[in-house]
Amino acid sequence: MRSRRRRRPGLAAFAAALGVSSILLSGCGDLSRDELNRGVESLSALAAQGELIANGVARDATKSTYARVMAKTLGGEAEHEAEKLADAEPSPEVKEERNAAVQVAGELADLFSELQTFPGDEHHGALVEGHMGEIKEQADAIVARLTGEPAQ
């Protein structure tokens, strides 16, 4: 059995080459509908969290250090998502949605930045809460276009 394997080095080399190529190629293909959908769902989830935190600020029902640190962390995640989406090459049929998603991610990062700057300001908190809700709706609308299912 061992000797038969030794006589067929080409098969092992082919398998290894196939494995390596698939790993390399997986990193440089088009941004698929599924990948974009996952990214936009993350944005929607971040916006929902932002809305809850901003609600705490608006009601004066939170601790400003908590709101600031959470806004910084979640804002960083939104920024990272924006960069990821902007860097990716979208497949032609989702290009429009990708662009919309990048814009949503950018706006979301800006809102978190505002929350980070004014974590104890109830007026700002209420404004950010409202905008976060709108951003979430926009993200959900993109998901709906991508999946063909109605927005939640």
């Binding site: 996952r38 989830a45 929902a48 029902a61 250090t65 908590y66 640190v69 959470m70 962390t73 979640l74």
Partner: protein
């Protein structure tokens, strides 16, 4: 009255010390993703840890031998060494996760550089351990950790549909890899090996004997049952608030949000404070466990009650484990990610921890009249079979779900 008070205090300590960062993360994420559907897995894990903690406490009380002593004795040097290496890696990851979690909570409360809080948290733990006796450490963190009962109050305040909640306690399986991954995660988070290592070594530290068996039984049954209630509350509050919004709680700070929603700043502070004591207590438990295991395996003098002079290698190894964990967290790796990996890899090490306990606890030549009865034996073997299945499934599920990322 004194005996009743002692038992009550033990229960409270077990209850408050039940939750660690793994429970906080996995139960909250389980609720956010699957609403109340995984409550049954929390109950399953809670019964499992109660069964094995009772067994390991009983073995320690009757034979004066803690778990790792038993492991070495039953598995021999070779397999025992494998168990030691596996549990040490898992313990180190767990200490790092708990220390990182503690630093995150401190950052949320005081807003300064994360790395500063990592160092302060490590120093704080050293100071606490240096100043307090073993029982004091256990009780301070146990009682103060009890503040997380705010999550039970939050669940009641939210007024969820209790029929839906009740349906979550009925076991159900799904073909979704992510669901299965969280079944493993929620179950394993309750059964982390360090918990029984610490529990049984703690029994030796507190000089339990056969007269302590009643206390052991009540601690395990009532303390862990109430601890399971806290874990269920996390699933419920998260399922109620996060699931409909599609929130994925990947940050430890998010865990406290439902309490803020229900009770404002007071709720938030109680949640963060309770989490701080739970996670801090677990950091001490897991770091002690790592040193207990090493010392017991190598035959060193060990125990907090002996002090650094009488157990220098034990004390030094404890400091080294804490230092290494601090270095891991300071590399910038996300503590929540460390938690997920430590919990899943712990599943793989679970059989090597629990099989020797099960065998010794059932051995009449060692345990005499206190050997496992029918119920303990049956439950022990059922859980062991379950643990083996999950140990086989854990890593493939981790890979298939991209570490729970879907």
């Amino acid at each position: 009255v004194k005996a009743i008070l002692k038992i009550a205090l033990g229960i409270i300590a077990a209850l408050g010390g039940f939750l660690d960062i793994g429970d906080l993360v996995f139960n909250t994420q389980a609720g956010a993703l699957f609403r109340y559907d995984l409550l049954w897995a929390v109950v399953l894990g809670t019964i499992g840890i109660a069964v094995y903690a009772e067994m390991s406490g009983r073995v320690a009380a009757v034979t004066r031998r803690p778990v790792f002593d038993v492991i070495r004795m039953r598995l021999g040097f070779g397999l025992g060494l494998v168990a030691l290496v596996a549990s040490t890696i898992v313990n180190l990851l767990t200490i790092a996760a708990e220390l990182g979690g503690l630093a995150i909570i401190l950052q949320l409360l005081f807003d300064a550089e994360f790395s500063l809080f990592v160092v302060l948290a490590a120093i704080g733990l050293v100071v606490v351990v240096a100043l307090l006796p073993f029982g004091g450490i256990e009780r301070v963190f146990g009682y103060c950790g009890l503040i997380v009962i705010v999550f039970v109050a939050t669940a009641i305040h939210q007024q969820p549909d209790w029929n839906d909640v009740a349906r979550g306690f009925v076991p159900s399986l799904s073909t979704s890899w992510l669901y299965l991954y969280f079944v493993v995660g929620v179950f394993a988070a309750a059964l982390m090996p360090y918990e029984v290592h610490f529990y049984s070594s703690g029994a030796v530290e507190e000089r339990w004997d056969e007269s302590s068996l009643k206390e052991n039984r009540l601690n395990a049954a009532v303390g862990y049952a109430l601890g399971g209630l806290l874990a269920c509350a996390l699933v419920v509050v998260s399922g109620y608030l996060f699931h409909p919004l599609g929130v994925r709680p990947d940050d430890l700070g998010t865990v406290a949000l439902p309490a803020q929603g229900a009770f404002g700043e007071t709720g938030l502070l109680l949640a963060l404070g309770g989490m701080m004591f739970c996670v801090g207590g677990a950091a001490i438990d897991s770091s002690f466990s790592a040193s207990y295991n090493l010392a017991q395996f190598l035959g060193w003098e060990w125990g907090r009650y002996r002090g650094p002079k009488k157990a220098p290698r034990f004390t030094f190894s404890w400091l080294v484990f804490l230092f290494l964990a601090m270095l891991i967290v300071l590399t910038g790796v996300n503590p929540v990610e460390i938690t997920e990996y430590s919990v899943v890899f712990a599943v793989v090490a679970l059989p090597m921890t629990y099989l020797p306990v099960l065998m010794i606890a059932g051995d009449r030549s060692f345990m005499g009249e206190h050997a496992n009865g029918l119920i303990s034996r049956t439950l022990g073997w059922i859980y062991f079979a379950l643990i083996v299945v999950l140990a086989i499934a854990a890593v493939p599920l981790l890979l298939a779900t991209n570490g729970g990322g879907g």
